[in-house]
Protein backbone atom coordinates (compact mmCIF):
# COMPACT_ATOMS: atom_id res chain seq x y z
CA UNK A 1 0.00 0.00 0.00
CA UNK A 2 1.14 3.48 -0.73
CA UNK A 3 2.11 5.77 2.09
CA UNK A 4 0.37 9.08 2.57
CA UNK A 5 2.30 12.17 1.56
CA UNK A 6 1.55 15.82 2.12
CA UNK A 7 1.02 17.95 -0.97
CA UNK A 8 1.01 21.74 -1.14
CA UNK A 9 -1.14 23.11 -3.95
CA UNK A 10 -0.69 26.63 -5.27
CA UNK A 11 -3.03 28.66 -7.45
CA UNK A 12 -2.71 28.27 -11.22
CA UNK A 13 -2.49 31.12 -13.73
CA UNK A 14 -5.16 33.72 -12.95
CA UNK A 15 -6.29 31.68 -9.99
CA UNK A 16 -6.87 32.72 -6.39
CA UNK A 17 -6.09 31.48 -2.90
CA UNK A 18 -3.79 28.86 -1.55
CA UNK A 19 -1.36 27.45 -1.01
CA UNK A 20 -3.42 24.72 0.59
CA UNK A 21 -2.18 21.59 2.28
CA UNK A 22 -3.55 18.22 1.29
CA UNK A 23 -2.69 15.59 3.86
CA UNK A 24 -4.60 12.33 3.62
CA UNK A 25 -4.84 10.35 6.83
CA UNK A 26 -6.32 6.97 7.65
CA UNK A 27 -10.11 7.43 7.60
CA UNK A 28 -9.77 10.74 5.82
CA UNK A 29 -8.00 9.95 2.59
CA UNK A 30 -10.57 10.57 -0.15
CA UNK A 31 -9.80 12.92 -3.02
CA UNK A 32 -13.36 13.67 -4.07
CA UNK A 33 -14.02 14.80 -7.60
CA UNK A 34 -17.21 16.82 -7.47
CA UNK A 35 -17.08 17.54 -11.18
CA UNK A 36 -19.08 16.65 -14.24
CA UNK A 37 -18.21 13.57 -16.25
CA UNK A 38 -16.47 11.30 -13.75
CA UNK A 39 -13.22 11.65 -11.86
CA UNK A 40 -11.31 14.69 -13.08
CA UNK A 41 -7.64 14.09 -14.07
CA UNK A 42 -6.59 16.64 -11.45
CA UNK A 43 -8.19 14.52 -8.70
CA UNK A 44 -6.51 11.41 -10.07
CA UNK A 45 -3.15 13.17 -10.00
CA UNK A 46 -3.62 14.56 -6.48
CA UNK A 47 -4.53 11.06 -5.30
CA UNK A 48 -1.43 9.68 -6.99
CA UNK A 49 0.84 12.26 -5.39
CA UNK A 50 -0.61 11.99 -1.89
CA UNK A 51 -1.50 8.31 -1.61
CA UNK A 52 -5.17 9.26 -1.26
CA UNK A 53 -8.06 7.61 -3.04
CA UNK A 54 -9.83 9.40 -5.92
CA UNK A 55 -13.61 9.04 -5.91
CA UNK A 56 -16.48 10.48 -7.94
CA UNK A 57 -18.51 12.68 -5.58
CA UNK A 58 -21.55 12.36 -7.83
CA UNK A 59 -21.57 8.61 -7.44
CA UNK A 60 -21.78 8.75 -3.68
CA UNK A 61 -19.51 7.39 -1.02
CA UNK A 62 -17.66 10.59 -0.17
CA UNK A 63 -18.86 11.81 3.24
CA UNK A 64 -17.46 15.17 4.29
CA UNK A 65 -15.46 13.86 7.21
CA UNK A 66 -13.59 11.38 5.01
CA UNK A 67 -12.51 13.89 2.36
CA UNK A 68 -8.87 15.02 2.37
CA UNK A 69 -9.35 17.27 -0.65
CA UNK A 70 -12.17 18.07 -3.06
CA UNK A 71 -11.77 18.97 -6.73
CA UNK A 72 -14.60 21.03 -8.23
CA UNK A 73 -15.45 22.58 -11.59
CA UNK A 74 -17.44 25.36 -10.04
CA UNK A 75 -18.49 28.37 -12.04
CA UNK A 76 -18.21 30.60 -9.01
CA UNK A 77 -21.29 30.52 -6.79
CA UNK A 78 -22.20 27.33 -4.99
CA UNK A 79 -19.65 24.54 -4.71
CA UNK A 80 -16.95 27.18 -4.31
CA UNK A 81 -18.24 27.90 -0.82
CA UNK A 82 -19.74 24.76 0.60
CA UNK A 83 -16.56 22.75 0.98
CA UNK A 84 -14.42 25.56 2.42
CA UNK A 85 -17.34 26.23 4.80
CA UNK A 86 -16.81 22.72 6.15
CA UNK A 87 -13.04 23.27 6.17
CA UNK A 88 -12.34 20.77 3.42
CA UNK A 89 -9.36 21.81 1.25
CA UNK A 90 -10.92 22.74 -2.09
CA UNK A 91 -9.38 23.00 -5.54
CA UNK A 92 -11.36 24.64 -8.35
CA UNK A 93 -10.15 23.84 -11.86
CA UNK A 94 -11.54 27.19 -12.99
CA UNK A 95 -9.76 30.43 -11.95
CA UNK A 96 -12.60 31.67 -9.76
CA UNK A 97 -12.43 34.17 -6.93
CA UNK A 98 -14.49 34.23 -3.72
CA UNK A 99 -18.10 35.16 -4.49
CA UNK A 100 -21.65 34.12 -3.80
CA UNK A 101 -23.61 33.87 -0.57
CA UNK A 102 -20.92 31.65 0.97
CA UNK A 103 -18.24 34.25 0.19
CA UNK A 104 -17.18 34.64 3.80
CA UNK A 105 -16.15 31.01 4.10
CA UNK A 106 -13.78 31.04 1.14
CA UNK A 107 -10.30 31.58 2.52
CA UNK A 108 -6.82 31.01 1.02
CA UNK A 109 -6.23 28.37 3.66
CA UNK A 110 -8.99 26.13 2.30
CA UNK A 111 -9.46 27.26 -1.28
CA UNK A 112 -7.27 27.47 -4.35
CA UNK A 113 -8.34 27.95 -7.98
CA UNK A 114 -7.21 27.80 -11.58
CA UNK A 115 -5.15 24.68 -10.87
CA UNK A 116 -4.14 22.43 -13.78
CA UNK A 117 -2.50 19.01 -13.60
CA UNK A 118 0.82 20.57 -14.69
CA UNK A 119 0.68 23.06 -11.81
CA UNK A 120 1.03 20.31 -9.22
CA UNK A 121 4.51 19.83 -7.80
CA UNK A 122 6.03 16.42 -8.42
CA UNK A 123 6.38 14.53 -5.17
Amino acid sequence: MSEYKKLVIKAGPGGWGGPINVEPKPGRDLIASVTGGGIHPLATKIAELTGGKAVDGFRGGAPFDQIACVVIDCGGTARIGVYPMKKVPTVDIYPTKPAGPLFRFITPEYFVSGVRVDDLPEA
Binding site: F58, G76, Y94, G100
Partner: protein, 124 residues
Amino acid sequence: MEEKSVKYRATVLEIGPLVTEFIEAGILVFFGESAPQELKEFSIIHDGKELKADIVPGDTIIIDEEPYKILAVGEVANTNFGNLGHLVMKFNGADTPEMPGDVCVESKPVHQVKVGTVFEIVSE
Protein backbone atom coordinates in the same frame (compact mmCIF):
# COMPACT_ATOMS: atom_id res chain seq x y z
CA MET B 1 -45.49 32.90 -32.11
CA GLU B 2 -46.34 29.67 -30.32
CA GLU B 3 -43.52 27.76 -32.02
CA LYS B 4 -41.53 27.18 -28.85
CA SER B 5 -38.98 24.47 -28.52
CA VAL B 6 -38.42 22.97 -25.06
CA LYS B 7 -34.72 22.48 -24.33
CA TYR B 8 -35.11 21.19 -20.80
CA ARG B 9 -37.93 20.22 -18.52
CA ALA B 10 -37.79 19.04 -14.94
CA THR B 11 -39.81 18.69 -11.76
CA VAL B 12 -38.50 19.77 -8.36
CA LEU B 13 -38.02 16.83 -6.00
CA GLU B 14 -36.41 18.34 -2.94
CA ILE B 15 -35.47 21.74 -1.50
CA GLY B 16 -32.46 22.07 0.77
CA PRO B 17 -32.66 23.91 4.11
CA LEU B 18 -30.14 26.57 3.01
CA VAL B 19 -31.93 27.45 -0.25
CA THR B 20 -33.51 30.48 1.45
CA GLU B 21 -30.06 32.00 2.04
CA PHE B 22 -29.43 31.94 -1.67
CA ILE B 23 -32.89 33.28 -2.44
CA GLU B 24 -32.12 36.28 -0.22
CA ALA B 25 -29.12 36.90 -2.48
CA GLY B 26 -31.32 36.60 -5.59
CA ILE B 27 -29.93 33.23 -6.58
CA LEU B 28 -31.47 29.83 -7.19
CA VAL B 29 -29.09 26.86 -7.31
CA PHE B 30 -30.29 23.69 -9.04
CA PHE B 31 -28.68 20.26 -9.09
CA GLY B 32 -29.71 16.92 -10.52
CA GLU B 33 -30.53 13.93 -8.35
CA SER B 34 -26.95 12.63 -8.28
CA ALA B 35 -25.68 15.59 -6.23
CA PRO B 36 -23.88 14.59 -3.02
CA GLN B 37 -25.71 15.31 0.22
CA GLU B 38 -23.61 18.36 1.13
CA LEU B 39 -24.64 20.09 -2.09
CA LYS B 40 -28.29 19.20 -1.56
CA GLU B 41 -28.31 21.39 1.54
CA PHE B 42 -28.44 24.58 -0.46
CA SER B 43 -29.88 23.27 -3.71
CA ILE B 44 -33.12 22.67 -5.48
CA ILE B 45 -32.93 19.04 -6.54
CA HIS B 46 -34.80 18.06 -9.69
CA ASP B 47 -35.36 15.09 -11.97
CA GLY B 48 -34.18 16.74 -15.22
CA LYS B 49 -32.07 14.56 -17.47
CA GLU B 50 -31.32 15.87 -20.90
CA LEU B 51 -30.33 19.31 -22.15
CA LYS B 52 -31.42 19.14 -25.79
CA ALA B 53 -29.57 22.27 -26.93
CA ASP B 54 -27.31 24.81 -25.24
CA ILE B 55 -29.00 27.60 -23.35
CA VAL B 56 -28.46 30.98 -25.02
CA PRO B 57 -29.44 34.55 -24.15
CA GLY B 58 -32.97 35.14 -25.41
CA ASP B 59 -34.25 31.78 -24.13
CA THR B 60 -36.80 31.78 -21.34
CA ILE B 61 -36.89 29.86 -18.08
CA ILE B 62 -40.47 29.16 -17.11
CA ILE B 63 -41.03 28.27 -13.45
CA ASP B 64 -44.59 27.24 -12.67
CA GLU B 65 -45.74 29.22 -15.71
CA GLU B 66 -43.87 32.37 -14.62
CA PRO B 67 -41.46 33.34 -17.42
CA TYR B 68 -37.98 34.75 -16.84
CA LYS B 69 -36.09 35.96 -19.88
CA ILE B 70 -32.46 34.80 -20.00
CA LEU B 71 -30.08 37.71 -20.53
CA ALA B 72 -26.64 36.16 -20.11
CA VAL B 73 -25.13 32.68 -20.02
CA GLY B 74 -21.70 32.06 -18.47
CA GLU B 75 -19.11 30.07 -20.37
CA VAL B 76 -19.33 26.95 -18.19
CA ALA B 77 -23.06 27.13 -17.46
CA ASN B 78 -24.08 24.74 -20.23
CA THR B 79 -21.41 22.19 -19.31
CA ASN B 80 -22.53 22.23 -15.67
CA PHE B 81 -26.18 22.01 -16.59
CA GLY B 82 -25.77 19.24 -19.15
CA ASN B 83 -23.49 17.10 -16.95
CA LEU B 84 -24.87 17.66 -13.48
CA GLY B 85 -28.27 19.28 -13.91
CA HIS B 86 -26.53 22.16 -12.15
CA LEU B 87 -27.84 25.61 -12.84
CA VAL B 88 -27.05 28.85 -11.04
CA MET B 89 -29.84 31.27 -11.82
CA LYS B 90 -29.29 34.89 -10.84
CA PHE B 91 -32.25 37.26 -10.86
CA ASN B 92 -30.05 40.30 -11.37
CA GLY B 93 -30.95 41.69 -14.78
CA ALA B 94 -27.30 41.49 -15.84
CA ASP B 95 -26.45 41.12 -19.50
CA THR B 96 -22.93 39.88 -18.79
CA PRO B 97 -22.33 36.97 -16.43
CA GLU B 98 -20.59 37.87 -13.18
CA MET B 99 -19.25 34.31 -12.82
CA PRO B 100 -18.62 31.67 -15.48
CA GLY B 101 -21.37 29.41 -14.13
CA ASP B 102 -24.09 32.05 -14.10
CA VAL B 103 -27.32 32.17 -15.99
CA CYS B 104 -28.65 35.70 -15.52
CA VAL B 105 -32.32 36.49 -15.92
CA GLU B 106 -34.36 39.64 -15.74
CA SER B 107 -34.57 41.37 -12.39
CA LYS B 108 -37.87 40.14 -10.97
CA PRO B 109 -38.75 38.70 -7.56
CA VAL B 110 -37.40 35.17 -7.12
CA HIS B 111 -40.15 32.66 -7.76
CA GLN B 112 -41.26 30.62 -4.76
CA VAL B 113 -40.15 27.13 -5.74
CA LYS B 114 -41.83 24.15 -4.07
CA VAL B 115 -41.57 20.39 -4.31
CA GLY B 116 -43.49 19.55 -7.47
CA THR B 117 -42.69 22.86 -9.19
CA VAL B 118 -42.09 22.33 -12.91
CA PHE B 119 -39.48 24.36 -14.74
CA GLU B 120 -38.72 24.49 -18.42
CA ILE B 121 -36.19 26.20 -20.63
CA VAL B 122 -37.62 27.18 -23.97
CA SER B 123 -36.34 28.96 -27.03
CA GLU B 124 -38.56 31.22 -29.08
